[in-house]
Amino acid sequence: MVINVAKSTAYYFSIWAGVITITFILFHVANESPARTILGPSADQQQILQLEKKLGLDQPKLVQMVNYFGRVLHMDFGHSYVDQRQVSKEVMRCLKITSLLVIPALFIILGYLFFVIWIHLVSKSGSLTDWFEVSARSFPIFFTGVIMAMLCAHFYPVIHFSGNLNSINDWLFMLPPALVLSVYPAAVLSEVLKKELSKTTGSLYITAARGFGFPERSLLFKHALRNTVIPVLTALSNILPVLFTGAFIVEIIFSIPGIGSLLIRSIMARDFPMIECIVILNSFIFVITNLIFDTAYQFIDPRMGGKND
């Protein structure tokens, strides 16, 4: 299993290295001089050359790329072109706010999945939630977001986010956007869960165990769920990074100053260091998520690790 984990790590980090390389090419090679972007169109050539020397942009591209990799590994993305703020610090600050959206959304999704399991236990049929799931999968996130924002504007008591997280209002403000963010993933995961639950609880070994008089609850939680969870985890590993990108849209709709809002602002202002950092960070989240789930599968089902160590 250790070898498999090491192989997965090497594989995913090589993908991440590819993303960093492509980012470097896009932002440093294919673009106009960053010095020109910083100094503006009316700067003369001498000023441009001076600043390029200061930023190390006069070095050969290969040397620049090596230095770039070194800085990325140290999480040093330099300073913003717009106002010289430290890029990594700003992105981490915004990521913290985005996490406050994503984590409650995750809890809502998990809560909904437990609800689905409970319904299955009680009624053995999922038709109670089917109508909700069909609607949730049909409506795109920007639509539900806009509807929720309009409803909140009229009826929700908290309509402003101060950003300081010092008051409970900030936390309450996050609930509707977290709900919006969780709707589609909850519907998708619930469908996968219900299908797998039906398949597993209808299988022969469960029928035999029932015949032996095992309690239903024990059958479900000790035996059936473990076999059901793998496909759900696979679906979750795809959904998790999408939650972060979905959060971008929700942030714009609800004016939350997270990563999504920062990305839009940076794109409009052509603040390339900021955009670079967000792209690389996003890809890192994808890589880490996939790595965690790959490792988790092997713990849940040792057969998935290949030959045992």
């Binding site: 106002d83 703020r85 924002a149 504007a153 402003h160 986010f161 004016s255 100053p257 809002s261 409009m268």
Partner: protein, 536 residues
């Protein structure tokens, strides 16, 4: 409810009571607090880096300029209490005594008084290449351009000759130099803010000035300023203790804030005019119960510019200018919250000449000029962008030009992209606006029409040696003579139609009926220290 009974409650009820207690203690006493809604997050509050107009209402409360404008647009002393010059080339500025910076840990003794060193240091910082306001000084102060290009370590023309006196030497005599400094864009801040250990914080949680308010906290969605209890200007002590600037981007949320009376002051964006205002510019119900709307004149001028290298036919340009129904644009987009202009100098500025009716809109004369022109029906490209109603202006303009037979194609870009193309000269027509920071017409005309100012800010690529000589002569003319000369220069330039000047924008400022004395100068300086609030 006694503790015993609370303890006897179920867990759910206990949690609910806990939440209620938390909410109760979270409610803060407001006192005299006012909320100002803005629609974009502010820039970094480092004075040399501020460029967004949305940030100035905040920064101008913290930082103060050397001079200011009163409500009538006249230059008044602020941090400089008096000035002297014998030849308009060397200026001695006397720093006001007893003005203190806001209290902060960056000072050894919590605060200190400003000196000539602070003024000189600040002026020099504004000459740096990263300074947005460097254009105000670079072509005027001796040594500023060299310093800006990295060829000098200091600005030769800025000297401290006394602990409270700064001497500024200009490249050439300039009678209206003080007008360049009559904006809070050039302000005074302490050298300590630029120390290495505060460099990353400066402009975020650290913004130290001398203004009527000091920065308490800031995030991307909320900035809180509190009254400076040691403010030097005894006649303008702030009435409101605390201003909360809230960033609300979503229009539904802005309307909700208004409906719930959670706003004291807001500049109404054009997109909300149909929702909040009636067609005559007054407030709709129910907003009229709790709010008032005030039209605040500014020096912001909107225009459609020509690239004179690409649209050389003066008769075509005159035809297009005369065929533009500016009043229709103002009514359709701004519900009357603008003044139609045909010239460079906006209403309210010294030297403004109101246009005659025939100069504003005359389709007969427009057609006559079109017949005299060499226009053969080719399509002209108009660059529009994503702010200040540019695209809508372009659409109305396009339909108006179609009536006289001129074909216009719109090309939409983001504002940054549009400005890049305008500067490169890769345009025929372009929609642009200027926020004039000068308070007199001479520097406005010099910057817009001098050959030496091509391509920035002379976006039109206007070049006329006769006008260049006349503009040069303005530098040393006495004030009244200069005003007359400016009017003649402007009249001459307007005949060549380098741009179709559309309107001078007024802000539609909505304020709660509880607050009063809302004043904004032509330089977009909100005099929040004058605002009073009735909390009954």
């Amino acid at each position: 409810m006694t503790f015993k009974r609370i303890y006897a409650c179920s867990k759910f009820k206990k949690f609910f009571i806990f939440l209620l207690v938390l909410l109760f203690f979270n409610i803060e006493a407001n006192g005299k607090e006012a909320v100002f809604i803005i629609d974009t997050p502010p820039d970094r509050l480092n004075p040399i880096m501020i460029r967004s107009p949305q940030t100035f209402p905040i920064s101008m409360q913290i930082y103060e300029g050397l001079f200011g404008l009163d409500v009538n647009g006249r230059v008044i002393p602020r941090l400089i209490e008096k000035w002297e010059t014998e030849d308009f080339q060397t200026w001695r500025l006397h720093v006001r005594k007893g003005v203190r910076f806001h209290a902060s840990a960056i000072f050894q003794d919590a605060t200190r008084k400003i000196t000539a060193e602070d003024v000189a240091y600040s002026l020099e910082q504004f000459c740096l290449p990263e300074s947005y306001s460097s254009f105000l000084l670079l072509d005027s102060v001796k040594g500023a351009a060299e310093f800006n290009r990295g060829k000098a370590k200091t600005v030769k023309g800025i000297r401290v000759i006394d602990p409270m006196v700064v001497e500024i030497e200009l490249i050439k005599p300039e009678r209206f130099f003080i007008n360049r400094l009559s904006t809070n864009l050039i302000c005074v801040f302490p050298k300590e803010m630029d120390q290495a250990r505060y460099k990353n914080e400066s402009g975020f949680n650290l913004a130290i000035g001398t203004g009527p308010y000091w920065l308490v906290s800031r995030s991307d969605t909320e900035i809180i300023l509190e009254k400076n209890r040691r403010y030097w200007d005894q006649q303008n002590q702030p009435d409101i203790d605390r201003w909360v600037f809230r960033v609300v981007k979503n229009e539904q949320m802005r309307i909700a804030n208004l409906a719930r009376q959670q706003v004291d002051l807001m500049v109404l964006p054009g997109s909300l005019f149909p929702v909040i205002l009636k067609s005559d510019g007054s407030l709709q119900n129910p907003y009229s119960r709790f709010y008032q709307v005030k039209s605040v004149p500014t020096f912001n001028s909107h225009m459609i510019g020509f690239n004179l290298n690409r649209v050389r036919d003066v008769n075509l340009r005159r035809a297009m200018s005369l065929a533009t129904n500016r009043a229709e644009i103002v009514e359709a987009l701004l519900f009357g919250h603008a003044d139609v202009t045909v010239g460079t100098v906006p209403p309210g500025m010294n030297g403004y000449q109101p246009p005659s009716e025939t100069e504003i809109y005359n389709t007969e004369l427009a057609k006559k000029y079109l017949e005299e022109s060499k226009y053969q029906g080719e399509v002209l490209e108009l660059i529009v962008h994503d702010i200040a109603n540019s695209e809508l202006i372009g659409q109305i303009f396009q339909s108006q030009m179609a009536k006289i037979g001129v074909k216009i194609k719109l090309e939409k870009l983001d504002f940054g992209g549009a400005v890049n193309r305008i500067i490169k000269g890769d345009t025929q027509l372009f929609s642009i606006f200027f926020e004039y920071v000068f308070s007199s017409p001479e520097p406005v005309l010099i910057n817009l029409y001098s050959t030496s100012k091509i391509p920035v800010p002379n976006f039109f690529h206007y070049s006329n040696p006769v006008i260049d000589r006349k503009l040069e002569a303005l530098y040393q003319m006495p004030e009244q003579e200069a005003l007359m000369a400016s009017q003649k220069i402007e009249a001459h330039v307007i005949k060549e139609a380098p741009a179709i000047f559309l309107y001078r924008q007024n802000y539609a400022l909505i304020h709660s009926k509880k607050i009063d004395n809302v004043h904004v100068t032509g330089n977009n300086h909100y005099l929040l220290e004058k605002v009073t609030k009735n909390i009954d």
